[in-house]
Symmetry: C2
Subunit: 196 residues, 2 copies
Amino acid sequence: MAAQTDTREKILATADRLLRSRGFNGFSYQDISRPLGIRNAAVHYHFPAKADLAVAIIEKFRGILRDRTAAFMAGHGDPVAQLEGFISFSTTECSLEHTMCPVGALSADFFSLPEPVRVAGRRLLDELLTWMTRVCTEGREQGRFRFDGEPAAKARQIVATLQGARQLARVCGEQAMHDVAGQIRRDLGLDPIRNR
Amino acid sequence: MAAQTDTREKILATADRLLRSRGFNGFSYQDISRPLGIRNAAVHYHFPAKADLAVAIIEKFRGILRDRTAAFMAGHGDPVAQLEGFISFSTTECSLEHTMCPVGALSADFFSLPEPVRVAGRRLLDELLTWMTRVCTEGREQGRFRFDGEPAAKARQIVATLQGARQLARVCGEQAMHDVAGQIRRDLGLDPIRNR
DNA sequence: AAACTGACTTACTAATAAGTCAGTCCTTTC
DNA sequence: GAAAGGACTGACTTATTAGTAAGTCAGTTT
C-alpha cells in the first residue's frame, strides 16, 4: 500500500514538473510513464483523464500556497516578510528546473484547456490575488510599502510581474528574474539588498 | 499570383491567431487548413515544418514592433509617448481575441520548442528589451519617469509585467490588464488617467 | 508548341495521442 | 485458506499528429 500510494505521488510529481516546464499540451502520458517504469494505463488508473491530472496538480499547489499564506490570513504576519516569502518562493522553489507556477504554465494554453482545468486555475489565481491584495493593503496601512493606487491593482501587478518574469527568465536567462524581483522591492520602497 | 500570395498570408494570419491564443503545442495543421478550405499539404508547401511557421510569425511580429519603435531608436521620440504607445499596443492590438504576444505564447512551451523557434523568440525579446531599456533611460534622464535602480531592470520589469498581465487577464478577466497598466504608470509617476 | 514553374491536391505514412478493458498479482480481512 | 479489493499490466482502439511523395493544372517563358 505504501508502494502503491508512492506510485500516485510519483506520477503527480513527474506530471507536475512536465506541466510546469512544458505546458499542458507539451507532455503526454508516455512522458510520465516511461521514466517511472510503469505503463500508460497505470497513469490512467490514478488519473483517468489528463484534465484530472492537471486539476490535481493545481489543487496540490493551492494547498502549498495556502500553507504558506495561512499565518498572514490568520492575521499574524508581517507584510514585508510575507512579500519577501512570496518573492523567494517565486524565484527559487517554484522555479526549480525553469518551471513556472501552474497558473503561468496554464495561461498560455488556457483556451485549449478542458473546462475543469480552467476552473481550477481560476480558483488558484483568485486565492492568490485575494491574499496578495491583503498583503498590499496591510503593508501600506502599516507604512511598510509605498505605492499609489488601489491595493488590488498593486497586487495584480506584483503577481503579473513575477509570472511574467519567470517566463522571461526561461527565454533570456535567470538574471532577469532577480532583476525584476529587485525592482518590485525598489518600487515599494523596500531595501533591495536581496537582489542576489 | 495575387491569390496565391494571399493563401500564404491567410495561413500566416490564421496560424498567428492560433499560436498566440493556444500556444505552440495547442494547434495543428488541420486547425489552419480547415477554416481556410485548403488541404494540410498546402500549409506544408508554404511552411514545410511547424517550426518554419512559428519562426515566420515571430519575425513578422518583430517587424511590426520594429516599425513602431523606429522613431524612438532614431532619436526623435518622446519617452512618455513611446511607453504609452507600447502599453496601448499591449493592451489592445496585441491582445485581440485574448491573444498574447508571441514571446508570451512561446515562453510557456519554451523547452518543448524546436531550436530555431527558441532562437527567434530570444531575438525578439532581446530587441524589445533593448528598446525598452532606452525608453527607461531617456525617460528618467528627461525627468519624465520616476524610478530607482537600473533602467535595464526597470525595462525587464515593465515587459514582464505586461506579459504577465496579459496572461492573467486570460484567466481572470480583462480588467486585470487595465489595472496593471494603470499601476505601471503610477509607479513611474505618470498621470494614470488612461486607466480606462 | 514545348518546357517549365508555382501553387496546389490526393493519397499516403509512421508516430504518437488519449483512453479502454479484461485479466492478473498482491495484500488484507474474514 | 478463501474471498475481496486495490494496484496494476497487456493488449488493445480510435483519433490525430507532423510530414511526404507523386500527380495535376493554370499560367509563364523560351
